[in-house]
Symmetry: C2
Amino acid sequence: MPRMGPQERRTEQRREQRQALRERILEVSREIVKREGFASLSMRKLAEAIDYSPAALYLHFKSRGDIARALRREGHASLRDAFLAHTSIADPAARLNAMGRAYVEFGLAEPETYRLMFMEPASSAEAAAGVDDNGNGRAAESGAATLSLIADAFVELRAADRLPSRAAPVACAEGLWANLHGIVALKLNGAALPETPAAMLVELSLDAWFAPVKGTELRFSGPDRSDTSTR
Amino acid sequence: MPRMGPQERRTEQRREQRQALRERILEVSREIVKREGFASLSMRKLAEAIDYSPAALYLHFKSRGDIARALRREGHASLRDAFLAHTSIADPAARLNAMGRAYVEFGLAEPETYRLMFMEPASSAEAAAGVDDNGNGRAAESGAATLSLIADAFVELRAADRLPSRAAPVACAEGLWANLHGIVALKLNGAALPETPAAMLVELSLDAWFAPVKGTELRFSGPDRSDTSTR
DNA sequence: GTCTATAGTGTGATAGAC
DNA sequence: GTCTATCACACTATAGAC
């Protein structure tokens, strides 16, 4: 790294301060969203929380939707981390089990973040490529990474001839994802899926979508539901 | 029916007119929601569309959320009708196939109505029983009827010993529902589930959740995805 | 029952002074 | 870079005249 003169150092400090404020805005936004949901994150409320004027926000983010996009990126990174923690599991079925559970746990633990990531209405001007005012990029753009981790496991299962379905592995991956998302989404909406705890639905879904690891199957032996808590 | 005097007839006419206007409000609301989503259904816009003042609406509906509840009820009735059209199918697996397809078709054909029914955030004051300002009743209250139609089929499968999973039929029903909902929800959000058409995901999911009817399985024979259109 | 008028509150975003 | 002040809207819901 080259030595810098006083001039460069000063601009460097400015850049750091600037970046620090941006981080602070994101930090507070993250907490508000986590507590009250993105819908109730207003620029005024946010400005008051960080003790700046609303106008100051627009020096760091082009729009409210721009903040949404940043938070979504954070969320996707966090979810991907939760997945990466299990990539070391050699057996693809066991790995899928761990990742599936991690996915639903993530969604139930941070419902509002999950909502922002996966349950926001698509951009109205969807036809236009790229990104719109609300920061809706292509939803898959970030989720694709985590999806591919699931798909990888299915590819391995197929290669080992342990995938009963004849469908393409990527199709199975999307099917399982849809299943997990459905569990989270319906649970988040409150009264839906009233009978069965999420944990059990996850087990059932994983078993439905690929042959379980030997000795891992039939965790729930009887037809009666367990009394495991919903979350 | 008793003859009515002129007095009763007049009040009868009033009641009919009143009911007619209520229906008209609902009709226009339904169309606006279908086209632009419930979020953009404002009382002003609605009033202008029916050529009344905004205040007139409040004589027929307690609030905007009250309209939402009415539309939700309509939607649930419509979905239940789509299900009832298949109750005559004797074989429970074939019936589930038809109902599952009908469910996803409904969701993709009327995305905004589906959103209103199943993808709205739960009421903030959920702890309080009953209904809130936004007309969010217990989401399951109406969906329960359709869910029980799915559960019935699983009960029959279990009775015929054709349900491989040992889980409770109602748990399987909720699992399958979650799966179908996930497909619709992710497809509605635009870019998610990019590779696989919804129709194929539905087939895969149905096959995953219960033994398919003989001769019906393996519609998709190869690992490559078909080029069936997404909707 | 229906209207006009408006209260009351919120919003995102910007212009222009400093 | 930050602020004040404000634009230009939107919204639900109600009061009170007719």
